[in-house]
């Protein structure tokens, strides 16, 4: 009882409205429509479903991986409206109307995206668990440099960021590789970047 009373106290200020312990036990359903890899998808989901779980468990696109489920590893990286995000830290219902591109949408084994090809050529993986996230992130990183978005290592904020490896390395820091395939990952991205710069 005492703990419950204190608990409501916690929420009094950190919540946007006064509250007690969440007593709700029944899941709440909500509808959401998204476009995934160009295909319209209408789903009715438990509001708790993350975009990652919607992709993997409901749309059976299992290329995107769940590493940490906390925004720390990047294995779940997908593109939403052209930007890379961690799909584990957004709810599917928050993505109403969004266009999502996953690794499956970037290319297929028969018709690979240049970044996928480069990862294969450079052996940019070992177990492959982080790879989908690495590739989605890498494609986005090159876009971000092109757009002129600064990074922590950009020397002059008023000049376009460079395409060198320190920029790529810094921008890829949200994608961890448990196997430590980093040098080959860097090699793959640098090859694609070199082709573009």
């Amino acid at each position: 009882m005492a703990a419950a009373a204190m608990r409501s106290d916690v929420h009094a200020q950190t919540e946007t409205a006064p509250a007690a312990v969440n007593p709700v036990t029944a899941p709440s359903l909500a509808k959401v429509s998204l476009k995934v890899n160009g295909k319209a998808c209408d789903l009715e989901l438990d509001t708790r479903t993350t975009l990652l779980d919607a992709l993997r468990e409901h749309l059976h696109l299992t290329g995107s991986k769940k590493g940490c489920d906390q925004g720390q590893c990047g294995a779940c990286t997908v593109m939403v409206n052209g930007r890379r995000i961690n799909s584990c830290l957004t709810l599917a219902v928050m993505q109403q109307g969004s266009e999502v591109t996953t690794i499956e949408g970037l290319g297929t084994p028969e018709n690979m995206h240049p970044m996928q090809e480069a990862f294969v050529k450079c052996d940019g993986y070992q177990c492959g668990y982080c790879t989908s996230g690495q590739i989605c992130s890498a494609v986005a990183v090159l876009g971000e440099i092109k757009e002129g978005i600064p990074s922590h290592v950009t020397e002059d904020l008023m000049k376009p960021p460079s395409w060198d490896s320190s920029e790529i390395r810094e921008r890829m820091s949200g994608n961890l590789c448990r196997c430590g395939a980093y040098s080959n990952i860097m090699e793959a991205i640098t090859q694609v970047a070199g082709g573009r710069a």
Binding site: A3, M6, R7, D9, V10, H11, A12, Q13, T14, E15, T16, A17, P18, A19, A20, V21, N22, P23, V24, T25, A26, P27, S28, D46, T47, R48, T50, D69, Q70, G71, G74, T77, R83, R84, I85, N86, L89, T90, L91, V93, M94, Q96, S137, V141, E144, E147, G148, I149, P150, S151, H152, T154, L157, M158, R169, E170, R171, S173, G174, N175
Partner: protein, 317 residues
């Protein structure tokens, strides 16, 4: 995660109103902090109000010559805005020193200000923590406190505010614009926005229940050299041990705010008068009342050294 109902708010006033109507409601913006905490059931809202559709995602000039940053502007877009890069470089620098590219694409201006501490015991639901469960005690005072605060601390809590962006906003003297559930609006100076822990560490800001942040405004540009220097355990993608946001003028005067040392960005205006006398003099004044633990006493020296580096860089610029 506990179940919750969900709605998309149509206007700022409607969002604030909905928060009052629904017990246990919370706003969700980028979701990068809130969802993480909901998975751990540290946050357990009964109702989520999605504020992403409120069109608060613009950066506009103010009549006073400053900038008004919508609450929903993503950290990436704020850092990349040409006016911010040119006139408020310390803010761009602080933003890109935080989190990862993916997270900055989701994280919003308001959400960043309201992100909760990274104290390990706040996250560990098996341990006492006054911030998570008032009255349960603080595991950090006698625990692993290397990352935690050295100043403005209380017996109840020694947590830090983890935001990099907030440190830059403090040095720039930004203000936070809000709307309350009754439809009134107010402007809160950033200096008054975050609270010190005192004996109520669960109260982190002066926001009222249901109060929605609509924008953050920056006063007109200060000129000078803008520097954000962050020291952390990894070169990238780690929270600050100590960080310094500084705007230093040609004549050596300027402003300094420190991150990673307190429950809010730490700035003591009186200490800035010491700037011409160097880092040691400023730090002595800035951290005069520091009460570090055994584990984090190194931060006092670290602040002085980082400030030394910042002042040297400003001189060379």
């Amino acid at each position: 995660m506990k179940p919750f109902t969900y709605e998309r708010a149509e206007s700022p006033a409607a969002a604030a109103g909905a928060a009052m109507r629904h017990p246990g409601a919370k706003f969700v913006a980028g979701g990068t902090n809130l969802l993480d905490l909901m998975k751990l059931e540290i946050e357990e809202p009964m109702h989520l109000i999605d504020v992403n559709g409120l069109q608060l995602d613009k950066i506009e000039p103010t009549p006073e010559g400053g900038l008004r940053i919508g609450a929903l502007v993503r950290n990436t877009d704020l850092a990349a805005d040409e006016r911010v890069r040119r006139d408020y470089g310390v803010l761009s620098r602080a933003l890109v020193a935080g989190a990862s590219g993916q997270l900055r694409n989701m994280a919003t201006t308001a959400g960043n200000l309201l992100q909760r501490t990274r104290c390990p015991y706040f996250y560990d639901t098996n341990q006492p923590c006054n911030k998570r469960l008032p009255g349960s005690g603080c595991s950090a005072v006698d625990g692993a406190s290397r990352q935690l605060a050295i100043i403005g601390v209380s017996e109840a809590c020694i947590a830090t505010h983890p935001s990099d962006m907030a440190v830059a906003l403090r040095v720039l003297d930004a203000s936070v614009e809000t709307i309350l559930p009754d439809g009134t609006t107010r402007t809160i100076p950033i200096a008054d926005f975050h609270r010190l822990p005192g004996d109520t560490p669960h109260l982190e800001t002066v926001l009222q229940p249901g109060e929605l942040i609509t924008a953050v405004t920056l006063p007109k540009p200060l000129g000078g050299t803008h520097i954000y220097h962050k020291v952390r355990d990894r070169a990238s993608y780690a929270f600050a041990l100590v960080s310094i946001a500084a705007v230093i003028q040609r004549d050596g005067s300027g402003r300094v705010a420190v991150g990673g040392v307190a429950h809010k960005p730490w700035r003591v205006e009186a200490a800035e008068a010491e700037l011409p006398r160097g880092a040691k003099a400023v730090t002595e004044r800035l951290l005069a009342d520091a009460k570090p633990t055994k584990d984090n006493a190194f931060k006092v020296k670290l602040v002085e050294r980082v400030l030394g580096a910042v002042l040297a860089e400003a001189k060379g610029a």
